[in-house]
Symmetry: C2
Subunit: 421 residues, 2 copies
């Protein structure tokens, strides 16, 4: 390997409140290394590599880089572009190596979910096959918290803290106005895994507290059981606060919003607008006869920097740092993992796992974290998530009373290759 080479930093998939903190960890650690010449940002993840849309992060002001820790979403830019197998996406993979070669990129730091780890793994293998010296390291990132091996994923602690607080707060709203607006449904993210929905269970400190019912994709959803659950809580408390993961599935594993039965479609069989909460609102109003409202924070839940978990933001930074340290120590083809140390007091360190093992894995909410009825969480889940939401990440407030976020000035690298895509 050259004595001095360049590194590329990229972000992928759905943004989080913590991914920029990971990227900050990569950059600030890389700036310390004498093996690294230039830190290059790929705009919009692997798309930026393919299109040679690159900018010089080393040229950014240190304050801008530091402010990454307080900025939500993905400041380098993200994408959902998915590469398939080496055979099917041969041209893409070749192009990636071409771009790396002309810019003397010998380290690739990719923050993302399992698809991104798959991409990094394949790029790494192709480079090895072609005899191009390259180190590919992954940094975990997903609010969905569904990556294998790692105890949890950066981004999750912040969304967990936020949605649990949303449930606590809106729960008080429902409680105050129960004589008319008797039921509230909070729809949270999680198409396949219920980790975000499960986290709201933290807000239920006592039986009065919201949420009273939590539905996760891991527990097969039944409309009859659901209606029964709602009636029971309503009878007991005179109000009902429900949290649903967006990807609820029936016993056959089909999304209930695509259900062909009575609900989810109108009487002519047309799929209704709105998500699962809107649909369940209609079910409750018809079958239980109480007014229901829907809250759907959408992308606000994963970008809620103003109430991010300090634990999460710090661990995200630690993951970025650890990726660079490991790469400099000779590791390759690995993703940094978060390792929860044994013991009563929460302590988290980092480990490493093969990119391939992350790419092929998925971690759902285990059965023992969900109660027997499939409509709330257990203490095991509470113990798991509680440490992750702790602490308030710093936010700098501007003269106008709102948080200040950074943007890169983006000094673009000159393109050396023909256009692609």
């Amino acid at each position: 390997m050259n004595s001095k080479s360049n590194i590329i930093v990229a972000q992928s998939g759905g943004p989080t409140a913590a991914i920029n903190s990971s990227t900050c960890g990569v950059i600030q650690e890389a700036l310390k290394s004498d093996k690294i010449s230039q830190i290059i940002g790929a705009i919009n993840g692997i798309l930026g590599v393919l299109k040679e849309d690159l900018f010089d992060i080393s040229a950014e002001r240190p304050e801008t880089i530091e402010a990454l820790r307080q900025t939500p979403a993905a400041a380098v830019g993200s994408c959902r572009y998915k590469l398939k197998s080496l055979e099917e996406s041969q041209a893409d993979f070749d192009r990636i190596l071409d771009v790396f070669r002309v810019h003397n990129i010998r380290y690739f730091f990719y923050a993302g979910g399992n698809d991104s780890m798959d991409t990094a793994d394949k790029v790494n293998k192709l480079a090895a096959a072609r005899g191009y010296e390259l180190v590919c390291m992954g940094i975990p990132k997903t609010v969905d918290n569904d990556l294998a091996i790692t105890d949890h994923c950066p981004g999750y602690g912040s969304v967990a803290k936020y949605v649990a607080t949303c449930a606590a707060e809106a729960g008080r709203d429902t409680e105050a106005l129960a004589t008319t607006d008797t039921c509230t449904i909070l729809e949270v993210m999680g198409r396949n895994a219920g980790w975000i929905a499960a986290a709201t269970g933290l807000a239920a400190r006592g039986p009065e507290d919201a949420p009273h019912l939590i539905y996760m994709p891991e527990a097969a959803f039944s409309f009859d059981k659901f209606i029964g659950d709602v009636k029971e809580v309503y009878k007991e408390l005179g109000r009902v606060f429900i949290v649903v993961g967006e990807g609820l599935k029936n016993e056959k594993g089909e999304y209930i919003t695509a259900d062909k039965g009575t609900f989810g479609r109108d009487s002519f069989g047309h799929v209704q607008l709105g998500g699962v909460a809107e649909m369940l609102k209609a079910v409750i109003e018809k079958e239980v006869g109480i007014k229901a409202r829907c809250n759907k924070p959408g992308t606000n839940q994963r970008s809620a920097m103003h109430f991010a978990s300090l634990t999460d933001i710090n661990e995200a930074y630690m993951c970025g740092q650890a990726a660079v340290k490991a790469a400099m120590a000779g590791e390759n083809g690995k993703m940094v993992t978060l390792v929860r140390e044994k013991g009563a007091k929460y302590k988290c360190t980092t480990g490493l796992a093969k990119l391939k093992d992350i790419a092929n894995g998925e971690k759902k909410v285990p059965r023992e974290y969900i109660n027997d009825k499939g409509n709330h969480i257990t203490d095991a889940m509470r113990d798991y998530v509680r440490p992750l939401v702790k602490g308030q990440a710093p936010v700098t407030i501007g003269e106008d009373g709102l948080p200040i976020f950074m943007r890169f000035s983006k000094k673009f690298l000159e393109k050396k290759l023909p256009n692609y895509l």
Copy 2:
């Protein structure tokens, strides 16, 4: 009037992050007065009076009362029960006076919007007509900020701060993922007035920043203009972040969600589930051809205690205090108003307005606060709202990392009258 008498405290309408702070101001000020014997809470507003569902606030612990300032929603309980004219609701009004009489209630402090001020005014007039000595005082409360005379309403500053921050944060999310999730629509509250939607304009510090387009009920909505606006922003920035008030209306003043045209109903003429954002998402995907997402924080926006404006929470308290002070000084039939002092530096004091004048008024976003195109705000609006969002209201965080809210222990008063309702 008796040398010592009781007061009743009640909350009405949609909860806010600040109404409990107003109630705290009433209670703590009333506790200082030697004219007052017992402070009584009416559970669920006027409904609690009608049903004689009353509890002894004087018996609550001082810490519980103090914690009202940090608790969202309406801790005494709220309702949407609307009394009509004295003639039409004669039985209700008589019952209210009966309940007041048997519990020696000589002061009625009612926090709410214009319907509540109307109720308080009518109760007051009936009491006078019947020769029952009663003082009725109103405390402004509404996230909608649509009360007449008062410069602004407690509750508004907090929702304004929260939704503007939501726009800033989710705007960064849209920016990061613009290659696929190109457009985001944030739907905020405001059925008749666009104050909440307008507040998000604060987040647009520069042309890159969200929101790029803001639609308020005050500016007649045209689908053609809307599609043109979206196309223009998309062409310029490659992404579009839109804020819509839930109550957008067309030129005829009809809610666009009830529009009988192409949009808002499916091809069979059935009204679609979901609100205005879901509908506009469908319009954008069809007419502009870009993917759109919807965020609809719902009741989370008005209960977001975790990021409430300190200015708002303090002013809310001040209104409660001022209502008691004014009542003790001999005022009656008035609502406390917030008065913005002239001068460059923001300073806010309280005034008084007749309940009747509040009941019959409504304050919409003035034309000069909305830009010429009707799709964003002007500097006049920014100047109006900026001081209201400032400062972070204190929140006590529990061992589990989430905010702690209070609940009254509710020592119920013995019922002295037959059941009613």
